[in-house]
């Protein structure tokens, strides 16, 4: 900012700063001297007031001490201090009470012995810790005045007189005096220190009073002058005060007054000084300004002349009548201005001639370029367009605004990096020789909205050391449109030929459609499915409306949506109405033709047969389960009778008939028991699907443990060793999975190696395989020949004689049915004599979602 100031302003400012500094320094010195003098005068006044206060108090103390002394001289008191009998004591007491009755300010009177111990006390008691102090003060002959003491809101002090008998020191008479408000006394004291001041009395123990009520001790503050301290008063006002001892007592007087009372007059002085200073500053400013202006006038004239010449007023001259440096400078300036005026005139003439020539040349070039069919654009090396011919302006739809000023990048929606690469290569290339080297088939953008194919060539020219980019752009859309139409036509022909071959095969129904719902062609297989003849199709009797039941309209329009979007649709099942009014289920799939999405081909697979088979299978499965359940359930009742009574026979008549009877009964009992197991297993088998429980997340380890508890007896009998790895938690029907383990472990125990030294060793494990758990129960039993791997899972199929291995042949069939209900599969890996490993999978439903 300072740099933009003129010489005159700077000079004025300098003079002003020097003057203000001198004025300020003088003012400050005067002010400090005044303040010192005022404080010294105040200190002298306060010291005088304090001295008088001290004398007033000393007089008051002496009066009080005289009263105590009068009691001390009472013979009754001396008698008791000399001879301490009860009678004397009573007498002395009356003397003390007399004083208490006479003087109103007394709270109590006491008699102490020479060591300060209390002998008699009348009225209020004096704190004992004053006594030592009194003994000390008496010894040096000081006034016996105790410190100011406070009890609640009242103040008191102890005043005493020594009792002597000649030179002998007997003790003390001590008064407890109330310090009460005495308005007259306060006035006298305040008159001493002045109206605005305040007198505080107190002692070193921190008890203070303003002679009306107890107050806080005066603050320490900062020292000013010889005795003054300055601090902030309770109401926030700055205060001055000074502390003085009250002679002959442990009391002190503190006189305080607001600083404003003392320094107020100083403020008036400040204002007066400011009043003087302002006119001085203004006058100085004016004089400084005049001086500065006069001194810098010739310089400013030179400056104005130079500015005029720079603006083109070459005739301007300055006065050069002065003889000093400024005068010589002005002469030189005038000579220079004359030379500039002359050469400027010549130059202007030459420029005008040359410009006329250039304009003509430029116009010629522009006209030429505007009739060129291709777009021509020149740009600065940073890519900003400097010129565009008419073809380019129209090609890019730039209108009246033109392309000038826009970046080249805005013409082509190619990647910025690619365009930058091209521009860089062109810039670095050989000027005038790169048009052929950089040619690109690009998309160009018209108004940033529509795109068109363009062939773009880049070049680089240097004219008088100034480089330009040159682009020639050809619109390729007409050529591309022709090529595309040709391609589409070929694709459609190829597509139709392929479809035609498929159509003629008549393996599935195929027809051609359009989006108006017409069927424009179909093969025989399709006509057979819908029950129409080819003549009827050709006559236009068959269309979407006639074939489609109302409830499929929504599903079909969904498929049409899909065609519009993707050109094909996901196959789905629907029904067609045949000519005879019956319905035929079909699976529909198809696609629109390439290029024209309002036509397409569709296949229709007749699902009639498949639906029938599915329905039959489902029905027969349900019937089978029902049959198995009902049969086994109803068989239970008569079997129970047979079983019970054959057993009763066996129990009551064994040994009572002949041997044959025993044997027959034995067979009957055995048969009934076996039949019962068969029926139970059959019931279990039929219930797997129909009476299964809920699926829940179950710890498979828990299930296995429960199963092992049930098999404990068999495990102990066979001395089997069952081990289990850590098993996962899976989503299963707990009861059914327990059944699977029960059957597999039961088999492992049953089909054990007959050798006594090879007890069963069974290992249960699980491992993750994709989205499923594979469980394995492995044993070291007799094993299974691979040819039986499938058969063992078939219901009632057994590999061994009943005498060798009892069983119903249902266990593994039940396992398989349970595992399949869980969505898994079961298989075995085994070899005779090598043990067996049964595997089953359970999908991990948690991983599905």
């Amino acid at each position: 900012m300072l740099r933009s100031w003129s010489f005159a302003q700077r000079l004025t400012a300098l003079i002003l700063i020097v003057l203000l500094a001198a004025l300020g320094g003088f003012g400050w010195l005067t002010r400090a001297g005044l303040e010192r003098a005022v404080i010294a005068a105040a200190e002298a006044r306060v010291a005088g007031a304090a001295r008088q206060t001290s004398e007033l108090f000393a007089t008051s103390f002496r009066n009080q001490i005289a009263q105590a002394d009068s009691v001390g001289r009472d013979p009754r008191v001396r008698a008791y201090l000399t001879t301490r009998t009860a009678a004397n004591r009573e007498q002395a007491r009356q003397a003390l009470a007399g004083l208490l009755g006479r003087v109103s300010q007394l709270g109590g009177v006491e008699l102490w012995d020479s060591a300060g111990a209390r002998l008699i006390a009348v009225g209020e008691v004096i704190p004992a810790h004053d006594s030592l102090d009194f003994v000390g003060r008496a010894r040096i002959g000081a006034l016996l005045v105790g410190p100011l003491r406070r009890e609640a809101d009242s103040l008191h002090t102890a005043v005493g007189a020594p009792v002597r008998d000649g030179a002998r020191f007997l003790g003390f008479v001590v008064e407890r005096r109330h310090i009460t408000s005495n308005p007259a006394g306060v006035r006298v004291l305040n008159d001493l220190v002045g109206q605005s001041a305040r007198l505080l009395i107190g002692s070193a123990n921190g008890t203070w009073t303003d002679l009306v009520r107890p107050v806080e001790a005066p603050p320490a503050g900062e020292t000013v002058g010889a005795t003054m301290r300055r601090y902030v008063g309770r109401n926030g006002e700055p205060m001055l005060g000074s502390l003085h001892a009250i002679a002959g007592s442990p009391w002190e007087a503190f006189i305080e007054f607001p600083a404003s009372a003392l320094l107020g007059p100083l403020r008036a002085t400040d204002r007066q000084m400011a009043g003087f200073a302002l006119p001085i500053v203004l006058v100085t400013l004016a004089v400084a300004w005049l001086l500065a202006h006069r001194f810098t006038a010739p310089v400013r004239e030179l400056e104005a002349a130079a500015v005029s010449i720079a603006d083109g007023q070459y005739g301007r001259r300055v006065g050069a009548e002065r003889g000093d440096e400024l005068g010589r400078l002005a002469s030189a300036f005038n000579a220079m201005a004359a030379r500039v005026e002359e050469s400027q005139r010549t130059l202007e003439q030459r420029v005008a001639d040359r410009t006329r020539e250039l304009d003509l040349s430029e116009q010629r070039h522009r006209r030429n370029l505007d009739i060129v069919h291709e777009g021509v654009v020149t740009a600065a090396m940073d890519g900003r367009i400097a010129y565009a011919n008419r073809a380019a302006t129209e090609m890019f739809g730039a209108g009246a605004a033109g392309l000038v000023g826009r970046p080249v990048a805005s013409l082509f929606p190619v990647r910025t990096a690619e365009l930058e690469g091209v521009l860089t290569r062109v810039r670095e290339g050989d000027p005038g020789n790169t048009l052929a080297a950089e040619r690109h088939e690009w998309r160009a953008t018209r108004n940033g909205a529509t795109e068109f194919p363009a062939s773009v060539a880049f070049g680089h020219t240097v004219v008088a050391g100034d480089s330009h980019l040159v682009l020639t752009i050809a619109d390729e859309s007409p050529r591309e449109a022709v090529a595309a139409a040709k391609l589409r036509e070929e694709a459609a022909r190829a597509s139709e030929a392929r479809v035609r071959r498929l159509l003629d095969s008549n393996i599935i129904g195929i027809f051609f459609w359009d989006l108006q719902g017409r069927i424009t062609g179909a093969n025989d297989a399709f006509l057979q499915t819908i029950g129409y003849t080819r003549a009827e199709l050709d006559a236009g009797a068959v269309d979407w409306l006639a074939l489609t039941p109302l409830e499929y309209a929504a599903r079909d329009s969904h498929a049409i949506e899909e065609i519009r979007r993707t050109g094909t649709w996901t196959a789905y099942e629907k029904e067609y109405i045949r000519k005879d009014g019956t319905r035929v289920p079909v699976l529909l799939g198809g696609a629109a033709f390439e290029g024209d999405k309002s036509n397409g081909v569709c296949f229709a697979v007749d699902l009639t047969h498949r639906k029938e088979v599915e329905e039959n299978l489902r029905r027969s499965n349900v019937e089978l389960e029902r049959f198995a359940y009902v049969a086994s359930h109803d068989l239970q009742e008569p079997l129970r009778m047979v079983h019970s009574y054959v057993q009763l026979l066996a129990e009551r008549y064994r040994g009572k008939l002949d041997e044959d009877a025993d044997e027959f009964i034995g067979f009957a009992v055995d048969g009934a028991a076996r039949m019962q197991r068969l029926i139970e297993d059959l019931l279990t088998f039929s219930r797997v699907g129909s009476k299964g429980g809920e699926f829940a997340s179950v710890d498979i380890g828990d299930v296995l443990r429960d199963t092992l508890v049930g098999l404990r007896l068999a495990i102990e009998e066979t001395r089997a060793e069952v081990t289990a790895e850590l098993l996962p938690t899976a989503t299963v029907d707990r009861r059914q999975i327990a059944q699977v383990f029960q059957n597999l472990l039961g088999n492992a125990l049953k089909f054990r190696d007959p050798a006594a030294d090879r007890p069963p060793r069974i290992r249960v494990s699980a491992q993750r395989d994709g989205a499923a758990w594979v469980f394995c129960v492995r044993d070291n039993g007799i094993g299974i020949d691979p040819q039986y791997y499938e058969r063992i899972f078939v219901i009632f199929q057994r590999l061994h004689g009943r005498a060798d291995y009892p069983g119903t042949g249902m266990g593994l069939a039940i396992c398989q049915k349970i595992v399949e209900r869980h969505g898994g599969r079961i298989w075995v890996e085994s070899a005779p004599g090598k043990g067996s490993a049964f595997f089953f999978t359970i999908p991990d439903r948690r991983s599905e979602g």
Partner: protein, 147 residues
Amino acid sequence: MTAQSATAIEVLLVEDNPGDVRLTREALKEAKVRNNVHVASDGVVALEFLRREGQFANAPRPDVVLLDLNLPRRSGHEVLHDIKSDERLRAIPVVILTSSQADEDIARSYQLAANAYVTKPVGLNEFLKVVRSIEHFWLEIVRLSPE
């Protein structure tokens, strides 16, 4: 508590299968408590017995009813409903003794206030054991309602 051991316990067995009747009798024959078994072969007869109608005018009031579910004429559930909705008969404990293991039968019986539900086991010894358990619980342990 075997306070009733002095007099015989009256048992009404509602069962249409003579085989089961016989087995139940065999089991109760060896009971610790002296008992008289009365048999009703269908639901209608059972209710006549309980209500002392017709030929059963002098029939004793049973201390416990053993009731099959699968009965001719009036089913076990109907009989159970009739007993439990008759103020005079409601206090008599009814034990369902049936071969049905169906969950719905069990649930329905307890909804109709059956006192116990026992499935007839297939084996002889198991059957005898069950009947003896019923006898032990209902005739020896439980203190029945006085009339």
